[in-house]
């Protein structure tokens, strides 16, 4: 009980720097709170891995942790964000506890430089990609800035102001000076410099107040999927190809299972050994999952304009994945566009052709769901059978017209499964002219869906799993 020296278990093994294990556990706790699945076995692996790499090398340390703790791309993104924050905070907390501060850092060299010279040096450091120079210069800039009494004490605001003051140095100034040979600064290194700036400001603030700001959960923004249109399209394709697997393998395997099975000669012979080579028991070939037949009905009216680009890209991706897919667009009438998708590969042309040749708007351009169901029922529903899946993409806003929910119910009966994807948040369903409730009753599932995230969660629900990010 007295001390480590008196321990009956002998001297302890070297456990690395004091508190590393505790820090790591805390880090894992933080990862878990952000939804990364870190189990005990992952933790043990992490410790085992750290024994193999020199933990004084930051990259190896980080790489070993990443390999054992974050095992998907999404997890890696969260890991990268948290790793930076956690170990920065850990170091700062330690510094506060022990009262360590950097002497005179607040005025270091700040008065010697004027802003122009500073700009030039920062530009050079950014172009060279010199991290340590960037860090020093970030501190200089903050010092010079503080001397002019412009520091607001709020990190975000200060970064903005500094950027504005220094902003002229990055590209815009080059043309003013006529120094056109200066290469423009790319976004990536520039944002690296801003990270240094932010970090040093935080450090400054922590030192002044001697407390750590509360750690917040990562903002949704930080972890959201990339949002440029081209990447969106790729993400939609990914989600749809997942959907393909799941629709193909799930849901129908119980039905008609015993029908039309083929005898597997090899396995029957093998089973026959038990009975001395007489094939008493027949073995069957496992039934391969059938290809699902999918009918997609997509609303392209003005009330869903913002969503219809997304919907069209979903349709586009679906066509790449399923051979037995028929797609329809509708506003007041319904029109089959399967052919357009089959013959045209370019997304933009498809969108144009559909708006030109679809022939779905009559006069008003307002969606008439009731009429669409009637048309679908009379013209197409004879093709529906229990193996078919119908997916409706629309906002269920009837513009005051008759919704004909009973017709919709008939469609639902004939089809094996019917799903509804609504581009509006659930909050707005059934407000105004939305009659979602009338239709939802007859669906196997209705989902809000306007991002790839929602699409993924739809796919997961269809597969019987938990909704993503829920």
């Amino acid at each position: 009980m007295t001390g480590a020296a008196a321990s009956p278990y002998g001297p302890r093994a070297d456990a690395g720097p004091p508190g590393l294990a505790a820090k790591l556990l805390g880090f894992c706790e933080e990862l878990r709170s952000e939804g990364v699945a870190v189990g005990t076995s992952e933790l043990l692996d992490a410790f085992a891995a750290l024994e193999e790499v020199p933990w004084t090398s930051r990259d190896d340390f980080r790489g070993a942790l990443a390999a054992t703790l974050a095992k998907s791309q999404e997890d890696r993104r969260v890991f990268a964000l948290l790793f930076e924050r956690w170990f920065f905070r850990a170091a700062e907390a330690e510094a506060i506890e022990r009262g360590i501060g950097e002497e005179g850092r607040r005025h270091e060299g700040g008065e010697r430089l004027d802003v122009e010279e500073l700009r030039e040096r920062i530009r050079q450091a950014i172009v060279d990609g010199d991290e340590s120079a960037m860090r020093d210069l970030a501190r200089l800039a903050i010092a010079a800035f503080g001397r002019r009494g412009e520091g607001s004490g709020v990190v975000g605001v200060d970064v903005q102001r500094l950027r504005r003051t220094l902003g002229r140095s990055t590209g815009a100034q080059a043309t003013e000076d006529g120094a056109a040979e200066l290469p423009p600064i790319e976004r990536e290194p520039l944002s690296r410099f801003e990270r240094h700036l932010r970090r040093e400001l935080e450090r400054d603030l922590i030192e002044r107040t001697s407390t750590l700001p509360p750690s917040r959960p990562l903002a949704e923004l930080d972890r959201a999927l990339p949002t440029s249109p081209s990447q969106d399209l790729a993400a939609v394709h990914r989600a749809v190809s997942q959907m393909k697997r799941r629709l193909a393998t799930l849901g129908h395997e119980q039905r008609g299972r015993r029908r039309g099975r083929a005898v597997d000669v090899r396995r029957t012979m093998r089973a026959s050994r038990e009975t001395g080579g007489v094939p008493l028991r027949l073995r069957y070939r496992p039934k391969r999952p059938h290809r699902p037949e999918i009918y997609v009905l997509c609303d392209v009216s003005t009330s869903v304009t913002s969503a219809s680009v997304f919907f069209l890209s979903v349709l586009h991706a679906l066509h790449d994945s399923f051979r037995k897919l028929r797609s329809f667009v509708f506003i007041e009438r319904i029109s089959e566009v399967t052919e357009v998708f089959e013959h045209e590969r370019d997304f933009r042309t498809i969108a144009e052709r559909i708006s030109r040749e679809g022939g779905v708007a009559d006069v008003s351009g307002y969606t008439d769901y009731g009429r669409v169901w009637l048309e679908f029922l009379t013209e197409i529903s004879d093709d529906l059978d229990p193996r078919s899946t119908v997916i409706v993409l629309g906002d269920a806003r009837t513009n005051g017209r008759e919704p004909h929910a009973e017709v919709f119910a008939q469609i639902s009966e004939r089809a094996g499964r019917l799903f509804w994807l609504n581009p509006e948040p659930k909050l707005y369903w059934n407000y105004g002219d939305s009659v979602m409730a009338a239709y939802e009753r007859h669906c196997d599932g209705a989902f809000e869906c306007w991002t790839t995230r929602h699409l993924e969660s739809f796919v997961n629900v269809v597969a019987g799993g938990a909704p993503a990010g829920g």
Partner: protein, 298 residues
């Protein structure tokens, strides 16, 4: 259990891989090193054509190990992946030994002799250390993954009639996935995770020059720059590293000195292989290359 030499440091692993013709980046070298030290499988994910399979091959060459490869596909079952009883031979044995007692025959026909070893069992029972590559694991279904769990965590396989077959030497197991579906948590838990992405400009240049040594440096740089430009577009199938290398060799054969618009258009089909992609690339990248007489002045 372990006879194969394990590397002592990350740098050593990296050098060994380089000697085997694979220029690994830091994470790849680190994970390969850890996998050998900790005896854990590596799960490699990343876009197609960044050298996931090649990493396994290089590990085999570097360690002087045999490479055993299991290519996954939809519908792959344990009879093709693990083992199968050679029932024809068993039937023959039953018929041939007509007068011997049933007990004797029964013990006899479930001996090793009647076992057909498939890649996984082969890797486990091999007397020499091996590299086991399970390629494109995401193509199989989740049931198959579950079957792999025993192998991945304990390096053993249970055959009901024979008992457990445990590995005599520690194999390096590499699983690759193109990320077309989420793998199960249980599988991931047993593996070290490595994300391979398209390499940095400098490293891809080294790789290209390693495989096409006669290519002048300036041309290699230009080539990699163009390939990166092409990758930045939203293509159905972005060019892989292997295609960069193919293109480099093509340029050598063509005797090209520089990549101008004409050479690019002639040889573009080496790196871009979809009709819509070709149109897009010709429009976006081809236009930016110098040297064409039709290019607008200024």
């Amino acid at each position: 259990m372990d006879e194969a030499p394990t590397p002592r440091s990350v740098a050593e692993t990296k050098e060994a891989l380089a000697a085997a013709g694979y220029l690994a980046d830091e994470p790849a070298a680190l994970v390969s090193f850890l996998a050998q030290r900790l005896g854990k499988p590596i799960l490699v994910e990343g876009p197609a054509g960044v050298g996931k399979t090649e990493l396994a091959k290089a590990l085999a060459r570097a360690g002087g190990r045999e490479l055993i490869r299991l290519q996954c596909y939809e519908g792959l079952d344990e009879a093709k992946a693990l083992y199968e009883w050679n029932y024809r031979k068993q039937l023959l044995r039953i018929q041939a030994g007509g007068e011997s007692g049933w007990e004797e025959v029964h013990d006899d026909i479930f001996a090793k002799e009647f076992l057909l070893e498939r890649p996984l069992l082969q890797a486990i029972s091999s007397p020499d250390p091996v590299v086991l590559l399970i390629d494109e694991i995401d193509k199989t279904d989740q049931e198959f993954e579950a079957m792999l769990l025993e192998l991945l965590s304990d390096f053993q396989i249970t055959i009901p009639e024979l008992g457990q077959v445990a590995a005599t030497t520690m194999p390096i197991v590499v699983l690759t996935s193109n990320n077309t579906r989420e793998l199960t948590e249980a599988l991931k838990r047993r593996c070290l995770y490595l994300w391979l992405d398209y390499p940095e400009l400098e490293r891809e240049m080294e790789i290209v020059r390693l495989h096409a040594p006669e290519l002048p440096e300036a041309l290699a740089r230009r080539l990699v720059e163009v390939v990166r430009m092409v990758r930045a577009l939203d293509l159905k199938k972005p060019p892989s590293i292997a295609e960069s290398i193919d293109w480099a060799r093509t340029l050598l054969l063509m005797g090209a000195e520089d990549i101008d618009r004409e050479t690019f258009e002639q040889s573009m089909s080496i790196i871009v292989k979809h009709r819509t992609d070709i149109d897009l690339v010709a429009e976006r990248v081809g236009m930016r290359l110098a040297g064409a007489p039709t290019q607008a002045p200024g």
